[in-house]
């Protein structure tokens, strides 16, 4: 039962599943002591964490700006209180005032109960960084929940979803455990579909040596978001690119980023660099994946074990660039339905994709309506950081977490006639919103941005 003292919790990974990603659980009686030990080593490394621990004045501004709190009204889901779950331990063990005055300054002894609190609330945080964006000081709660999740992982507490997804990456090079023959079969199938749907004959080269461009799709595109994969294929064929998809890292995401930056994230990064080296490519282009793009753009430089010789850009950067140069022939009337854009948090608050997404969507659709707030002020879809748990309790919570997004979409009026398009160019957003637009009865279909580009291209 994923509940502990009334707190919802994701289903946990089994010891076997953890073992596949090289973690052996710490026995329960040693967990509290070990947690403090791990916390001590981490606080000496990350200034972003220390500042979040030591700077908050509890002004309360983050409360109404967190979709998790808005959806659940659980006080511990206020970002200031969420960080307080770890700050109370930090104070107790690592500050003079906490050691001397204890409760008065909100310090608390570590215990298994506290760790269970961490597990519940750090996995309700989407790490969307809206709180950092609105905080008068810029305190980044995301840095705190990253570290909370990292410590829990070392103790042997991780969600089954995250652990098995990371295990899939280790086993096959992608989150969905697609082996190479499956990848090729799916892409051949999609190439046939493209002929039927778009009347274009395109190829999806896999592991093609001496390619110029390495395209990294999200593995979810091989299962649920086929139009995104087709859109990317259409785009690269349209511009006559010498491109390829690597079978060893067919994955734009990096779940390690979300709960195990020390090992899982780093090893995924190095897997990518190996593939780039072996295929002799000149540039890496990233597919639609929010957390994965942040992990790639902002973290590869500091996680790589070698100099990174290849520039890395997002497919939106490249499409927007060609649109600005007027090199793509586009018919926006092909996407005539009313469409709104859900800004993936990692794109707009961590990767600066704001303008490029709008350049594209304005060019490829004919009835684009902004939701409010949008851009860097946007709210998360409620699934951010991979909290896509589908056990009944956590699924209910996901509906609550997406409430704010549902209100925003409804306010645009795009779903009135039941033919609206909610463009959400990120695999986690898509996976969260596919069921959520049904739960909230929004009358919209969820699509990626590249999907719309693929459809709008004029071939002759």
């Amino acid at each position: 039962m994923p509940e502990y003292n009334g707190m919802v919790q994701p289903v946990r990974a089994t010891p076997q599943e953890l073992s596949k990603i090289f973690v052996e659980a710490v026995p329960d009686e040693q967990k509290p002591e070990k947690a403090v030990e791990y916390l001590d080593s981490i606080r000496k490394k990350f200034r972003s964490f220390v500042m979040a621990m030591e700077s908050c004045v509890k002004c309360g501004q983050c409360a109404e700006n967190c979709h998790t709190y808005l959806g659940t009204r659980d006080p511990n889901n206020i970002p200031a209180n969420r960080t307080e779950l770890i700050r109370k331990i930090y104070r107790r063990y690592f500050t003079l005032e906490g050691r001397w005055f204890g409760k008065l300054v909100g310090a608390e002894d570590i215990s298994l109960d506290v760790l269970e609190q961490w597990y519940s609330y750090f996995y309700q945080c989407s790490q969307c960084r809206r709180c950092a964006h609105v905080c008068p000081f810029g305190i980044d709660t995301c840095e705190v929940t990253f570290i909370g999740r990292q410590i829990l992982h070392w103790l042997g507490i991780a969600p089954k979803l995250h652990a098995t997804t990371a295990g899939g990456m280790y086993k096959t090079g992608n989150h969905m455990t697609l082996p190479k023959p499956g990848i090729i079969d799916t892409l051949e199938f999609l190439a046939e579909e493209v002929v039927d749907i778009y009347g274009a004959e395109i190829e999806f080269p896999v592991d093609k040596p001496d390619s110029d461009i390495l395209y990294i799709p999200s593995s979810a595109d091989f299962s649920l978001n086929e139009y995104t994969l087709m859109g990317a294929g259409l785009f690269f064929n349209y511009i006559g690119a010498n491109w390829t998809i690597p079978s060893t890292v067919t994955e734009a995401g990096n779940f390690g980023f979300l709960f195990d930056q020390y090992h899982t994230q780093r090893s995924n990064v190095n897997k990518l660099l190996d593939a780039a080296h072996e295929l002799g490519i000149k540039k890496i282009v990233w597919g639609e994946c929010g957390h994965g793009w942040r992990a790639a753009k902002m973290y590869i430089p500091s996680l790589a074990d070698r100099p990174v010789r290849w520039p890395i850009t997002h497919i939106h950067d490249e499409i927007a660039d060609l649109i600005r140069k007027g090199e793509l022939k586009i018919d926006p009337a092909k996407n005539y339905q009313p469409v709104t854009l859900h800004d993936p948090c990692n794109y707009v608050r961590a990767c600066g994709l704001n303008d490029n997404m709008r350049t594209i969507i304005n060019a490829v659709t004919s009835d684009f309506r902004e939701m409010t707030p949008n851009g860097a002020d946007n709210f998360c879809c409620g699934g951010g950081s991979g909290i896509l748990f589908d056990d009944p309790e956590m699924y209910q919570r996901r509906i609550q977490l997406s409430q704010k997004k549902a209100d925003q979409v409804r306010a645009t009026g795009i779903g009135k006639d039941g033919n609206g398009i909610l463009c959400a160019p990120c695999s986690i957003c898509k996976a969260q919103l596919y069921p959520m637009v049904e739960e909230h009865e929004l009358g919209v279909e969820v699509k990626g941005l590249v999907d719309l580009v693929g459809k709008a291209l004029v071939w002759k």
């Binding site: 950092a132 000081f137 274009a200 461009i213 006559g240 282009v285 973290y299």
Partner: protein, 276 residues
């Protein structure tokens, strides 16, 4: 009493305050900025970053954007505080004649003293009122109540007491016996020169002693409290607001015009089909 608070404690206070602040800042310098976590849309020049951080630090930009009421309370409180602190320095430093030193304005020393008094009164009162407002907000607004701990409220109460006693001396004759600019200046000079001060009439005023004691407690606890956010603010901004330059877009060996001319992707039988 006057010996402890007025003569001995100040030296201890200054030492603890300085060492404490250095200790706390030292704790922040050790850990590094490991990954680039700058917030986007990012700024392209250091000037832009400086302007943004200054807006946040001095105009409370984010509070203004997302909570106007808190913004008004917070900025008035901090602005008054800044003036009150500045007023203490120049007021006691120049005996209220600070404005007469500004060349070209023709302000007499008398007028300057009157202005100094007026400004002191206005900001002293405003500071007290805004602190009361912030306390009221903490005690009544549900979302703020939910994040406040005991110490958050205690700090406000403490500051209200400290400012309150100061205001008493400013506004009420009975509290201001033996307290004037000159007396305080003499006292501070004597302290700085390590001269005995216990005989000074100033130290027989219990309002002054209380005010002075509270200030010293504040300074001693300051490095171990949330008041360090004055420095924390800049340290945090230094992490999340930095210059970032995107790698240039543009794909290697791509010639869209040539590809379209060659008809890549267009099925060969298409032209015939179209005629049907």
């Amino acid at each position: 009493m006057s010996l402890i608070i007025g003569q001995i404690l100040p030296y201890i206070t200054i030492t603890l305050f300085t060492l404490g602040v250095l200790y706390r800042l030292g704790r922040w310098v050790g850990p590094r900025i490991v990954h680039n976590i700058t917030l986007s849309p990012w700024m392209k020049t250091n000037t832009a970053v400086t302007i943004r951080v200054a807006e946040e630090a001095f105009l409370f930009r984010n509070l203004f954007r997302f909570d106007k009421v808190l913004w008004l309370g917070a900025i008035l409180m901090h602005f008054s505080l800044l003036n009150v602190l500045g007023g203490h320095v120049v007021g006691f430093g120049t005996l209220g004649k600070q404005f007469a030193f500004i060349p070209g304005l023709g302000i007499t020393e008398d007028l300057s003293e009157q202005m100094s008094n007026l400004l002191g009164s206005v900001f002293g009162l405003l500071l007290l009122l805004t602190l009361l407002f912030l306390l009221y907000r903490r005690l009544t607004l549900p979302k703020v109540k939910l994040v406040s701990s005991i110490s958050d409220n205690l700090w406000l109460v403490f500051l209200i007491l400290l400012v309150g006693v100061g205001d008493l001396m400013r506004f009420f004759e009975f509290a201001a016996t033996n307290v004037d600019y000159k007396a305080v200046q003499d006292y501070l000079v004597a302290l700085a020169l390590f001269k005995p001060v216990t005989d000074m009439p100033l130290l027989s005023n219990y309002f002054f002693l209380t005010h002075f004691l509270l200030v010293q407690i504040l300074l001693i606890v300051f490095p171990f409290s949330k008041l360090m956010h004055i420095f924390g603010m800049f340290a945090e901004r230094w992490i999340i607001n930095r210059v970032y330059k995107d790698p240039a877009p543009g794909l290697p060996n791509v010639d869209v015009a040539a590809a379209r001319l060659a008809g890549i992707g267009v099925p060969s039988g298409d032209a015939a089909e179209e005629g049907v």
